[in-house]
């Protein structure tokens, strides 16, 4: 899971040995670099992994530093007692900043966080209890028995320990279920919700993680520099942090930490030309996003190629018939009988347009049901209503007899509904295995408390999930590409992966939106056998398709939509001879020819 390699242990060892070669001033700068690296790790989690723009990280950092300072200087708490409270304050602020995430689009968070950062600066410079523009002095050092913590060399090891602890925790999160869900959300919010992920809570969780890291760093900063002022946590500091993470590589914990250390070092080398520093950060941010979006961390692949190190090559895209799937949900399987999905008089209006009106259909358990109709007839809209992406304007949707009309996408996923999308929505940057593992993972949000209470149990769950994922991939004929990023798969395999992902989460109802679009003849055969196997495993299948050959040979019942209404339904033979259907597809017969 985590490939350690040789460079990283060496880097850590070098960090331990480094103070030997440092003069007092360098050691001081080095401690600052380590502290900023901790803040950057938090920013990397929220921005790089969760894809949420956070411009308040410096404010969270400052909230913790100021809390620690106020508690120790004005309330005379011991630093150790103040530290948890300070971290809590930073985290609480992150929660406040993330709260709008429960309601709004993610790009608003960037603005909310910027607003919070500006407001926080204005509070620091104007309030009396923060010491105004001059800040707070006389913060006591951290007390450790027998160790002089005013000594920069000693503090170096405390900061390094903290960085390694925070970094290890961040890596642990990033490489297990929580991090995977954050990344799934970043890559495709709609698909993540369709895999059962409650997007708003994960946005909030990302902010909490960022706040925790900033909190730890803030406490260290206050007791190291022993003086806090608004400048340290201003917007300029935020931009420096942003530069660290973007230039280092936001989607890697390691690269972000390295970026922080590099930029603090650079800041001290360039201290003579202070006025140009910010210009350089800004220009580097622009250059990085345009030319090397993954930052320095992303350039290692390029370097490796230059050095002639061969990267794993993609297997040829030979489609392979899938092996039988395990009986997915035997208890709810075909033997149970009854209806899997009922759509009753559903309507959907977009402003003035009636996309769906009075659509009624019933899908029996274990059936392969086709939905066809000319382009624009409302097929995908129907799927979006059924899978909770749109709210219907009227009517009812029932899943195995249960009214689910106003359920959200992630709730429906947890009730056993899996779906694919007309224009592929994979988690692009995750590997094939990770894509499937996101779907297999049906733990509720509060299960993430394991990370704090029993981290080891996260690992064992992870191992089991991985084994299940590999098993599913083998049956779907995708196992040899398990470690390839989804975006790098050939098109046909991406389609296959999307089906695997949709089945993965114990779905007993599978909605396929044009699964055959763009497939060649051989891939089409694989698709057919896959769909049959999925059904044989006890899953009910509803598919939208334009390929009539596929629909007629696979489906037991077909519903035809035109202009948002059901114009026919029945067996393939009934439907294909229905006058209304023929007219919808080919147009009405000529007036004159009617007489014949």
């Amino acid at each position: 899971m985590i490939r350690i390699g040789i460079v990283r242990p060496l880097a850590v060892a070098a960090l331990f040995a480094a103070p030997i070669f440092m003069d007092r001033y360098t050691a001081h700068v080095a401690v600052l670099a380590l502290i900023f690296a901790i803040v950057a790790v938090g920013l990397s989690l929220v921005m790089g992994f969760a894809g949420q723009v956070n411009l308040a990280q410096a404010a969270f950092f400052g909230a913790a530093a100021y809390s620690a300072s106020i508690l120790t200087t004005q309330q005379h708490w011991s630093p150790w007692a103040a530290a948890p409270v300070a971290i809590l304050v930073a985290t609480a602020m992150a929660v406040v900043c993330g709260l709008p995430a429960l309601r709004v689009q993610s790009h608003y968070l960037g603005i909310v966080s910027l607003g919070l950062a500006v407001a926080f600066s204005s509070l620091l410079t104007n309030a009396r209890f923060t010491g105004g523009a001059s800040g707070l002095f006389g913060i006591p050092p951290i007390e450790l028995p027998g160790v002089d913590m005013t000594d920069d060399y000693n503090f170096y090891y405390l900061a390094l320990t903290a960085l390694l602890a925070v970094g290890a925790f961040a890596l642990f999160v990033a490489n297990t279920t929580l991090g995977r869900r954050l990344e799934a959300m970043r890559d495709d919010t709609v698909a993540a919700a369709a895999c059962g992920i409650e997007i708003p809570y994960y946005r909030l969780t990302a902010f909490v993680l960022a706040g925790l890291c900033a909190g730890v760093a803030g406490v260290l900063y206050a007791h190291f520099v022993r003086y806090v002022s608004p400048d340290t946590f201003s917007l300029n500091a935020m931009f420096l942090l942003l530069a660290m993470v973007i230039i280092g590589g936001q989607d890697s914990i390691w690269a972000s930490a390295v970026g922080a250390i590099l930029l603090i070092a650079a800041r001290n080398l360039l201290s003579g030309i202070q006025a140009y520093q910010q210009l350089v950060y800004g220009a580097l941010i622009v250059a990085t996003v345009v030319f090397a979006p993954r930052g320095l961390g992303g350039t290692t692949d390029l370097v490796a190629r230059r050095l002639g190190i061969r990267l794993p090559r993609l297997p040829l895209p030979i489609p392979r018939p899938a092996a039988p799937l395990p009986q997915a949900v035997p208890a709810r399987g075909r033997a149970a009988g009854g209806t899997a999905l009922e759509v009753v008089a559903v309507g959907k209006r977009f402003r003035g347009l009636n996309a769906l009106s009075d659509v009624t259909l019933e899908v029996a358990v274990g059936e392969i049901h086709g939905i066809i109709g000319p382009n624009g007839s409302g097929k995908t809209t129907l799927f979006n209503v059924v899978s909770g992406i749109y709210r219907p304007s009227g009517g009812k949707v029932r899943l195995r007899g249960r009214d689910v009309t106003r359920r959200r996408s992630h709730q429906l996923a947890r009730l056993g509904m899996g779906r694919t999308f007309q224009n592929l929505r994979l988690f692009r940057r995750l590997t094939v295995l990770e894509n499937v593992m996101v779907a297999l993972d049906r733990d509720p949000v509060w299960e993430h408390l394991r990370y704090v209470v029993a981290p080891w149990s996260v690992w064992s769950l992870e191992r089991r999930r991985r084994a299940r994922g590999l098993d599913l991939l083998r049956r779907m004929g995708l196992d040899e590409v398990a470690d390839v990023a989804a975006v790098n798969l050939p098109y046909g395999r991406q389609r296959q992966l999307e089906i695997a992902r949709a089945v993965g989460g114990d779905a007993d109802l599978l909605l396929l939106d044009e699964p055959a679009a763009g497939l060649n003849a051989a891939e089409m055969e694989v698709l057919k056998s896959t769909i049959r196997q999925v059904r044989d495993a006890g899953v009910t299948v509803v598919l939208i398709e334009h390929n009539m050959g596929l629909v007629m040979s696979l489906c037991e019942r077909i519903t035809v939509l035109a202009h948002g209404r059901v114009i026919a339904s029945g067996s393939p033979v009934d439907v294909s001879t229905d006058q209304a259907v023929v007219e919808a597809y080919l147009g009405a017969a000529f007036e004159g020819s009617k007489a014949v």
């Binding site: 894809g51 723009v53 411009l55 709260l99 709008p100 429960l102 309601r103 709004v104 689009q105 790009h107 608003y108 960037g110 603005i111 909310v112 910027l114 607003g115 919070l116 500006v118 407001a119 600066s121 204005s122 509070l123 104007n126 709609v190 917007l235 931009f239 942003l242 530069a243 973007i246 006025a275 140009y276 520093q277 910010q278 210009l279 950060y281 800004g282 220009a283 580097l284 941010i285 622009v286 996003v289 345009v290 979006p293």
Partner: protein, 289 residues
């Protein structure tokens, strides 16, 4: 009552400036779904360019304003050009790119004009006019008049010209618009250019009210953002209403709260977003899959 009206007059004049800033955000957002974080600093650059032509080169204010509009508009087009490779790939990265541009613009301003800032005299004789006990200055009237003209021109452009219609088409469906012969890249560049040109007007008009400094962007920008969102992001009438509302909020919360005006702004708009995420008039944006 007179106090109330007097405060409202002050709020509306600064609100007109916020509305202009909000319009600049909105036109880029509705065209490409991008939040342009450099916008606040473009306003600042616009203010400085005007000041330079007006005070240093001693040109008439109107001429300085027109020059600033042209140069700042070109700056906006330039920003879009540099970031264009990210347009169809990753809007989040593009957003970070605009933050990077904001940082660059601010530091350029410090290097060129210094970090202390400049006070700007009003370009017209600032005569107080009395109307029923309420005092309105001629400069306040000028701000409102100029803002109204800009808003009217923007409306006519988007609604009544072929290019404006093409831009709206590109905003609604990139691919379809391309198929109809609309150059989407040019349309985005135009959105950036127009947004920045309006920013220059906002910067030029706000100069004499406030103090022109490299850091002025943050405070005005955040209120412009907040205004754009409050009115419904991407919604042109919404941006105007939002700007006026924030001007009024600021005006009425001044006094003992003036040091915290950024804080008050933040609290109001964070609350507004939680209560009504799509703003008062609803969101209008390029793509929602």
């Amino acid at each position: 009552m007179i106090w109330f009206l007097q405060t409202a007059v002050g709020g509306l004049s600064i609100g007109a400036v916020y509305a202009l800033v909000a319009l600049g955000f909105s036109i880029v957002y509705r065209t490409m779904g991008l939040v342009n974080f450099a916008h606040a600093d473009v306003v600042m650059i616009g203010a400085y360019v005007t000041v330079t032509f007006f005070l240093t080169a001693r040109l008439p204010f109107g001429v300085a304003l027109v020059l600033a509009v042209v140069l700042t508009g070109a700056l906006g087009v330039g920003i879009e050009r540099v970031l264009r490779p990210l347009e169809s790939r990753d809007l989040n990265l593009m957003l970070i790119g605009t933050i990077g541009f904001g940082i660059v613009l601010e530091s350029v301003a410090i290097l060129v004009w210094g970090s202390t800032g400049t006070a700007v005299p009003a370009p017209i004789p600032n005569v107080p006019l009395h109307a029923g006990g309420v005092v309105v200055t001629t400069y306040q009237l000028l701000i409102v008049a100029v803002s109204a003209v800009v808003m009217g021109m923007l409306y006519l452009f988007l609604d009544r010209t072929k290019v404006g219609t093409a831009m709206q088409a590109a905003a609604m469906d990139r691919v379809a618009a391309t198929a109809m012969g609309v150059n989407v890249g040019a349309s985005n560049a135009l959105a950036f250019g127009i947004g920045s040109a309006i920013a220059a007007v906002a910067g030029a008009m706000v100069g004499p009210l406030l103090y022109v400094s490299p850091g002025m962007g943050a405070s005005i920008g955040i209120k412009g953002f907040a205004a754009a969102i409050l009115g419904g992001f991407g919604n042109i009438p919404g941006a105007i209403a939002g700007g006026l509302i924030f001007g009024l909020i600021e005006s009425f919360s001044s006094g003992q709260l003036s040091a915290y005006s950024d804080l008050v702004t933040f609290v109001v708009f964070a609350a507004a977003m939680v209560l009504r995420p799509t703003g008062i008039f609803g969101e209008r944006t390029a793509d929602r899959a």
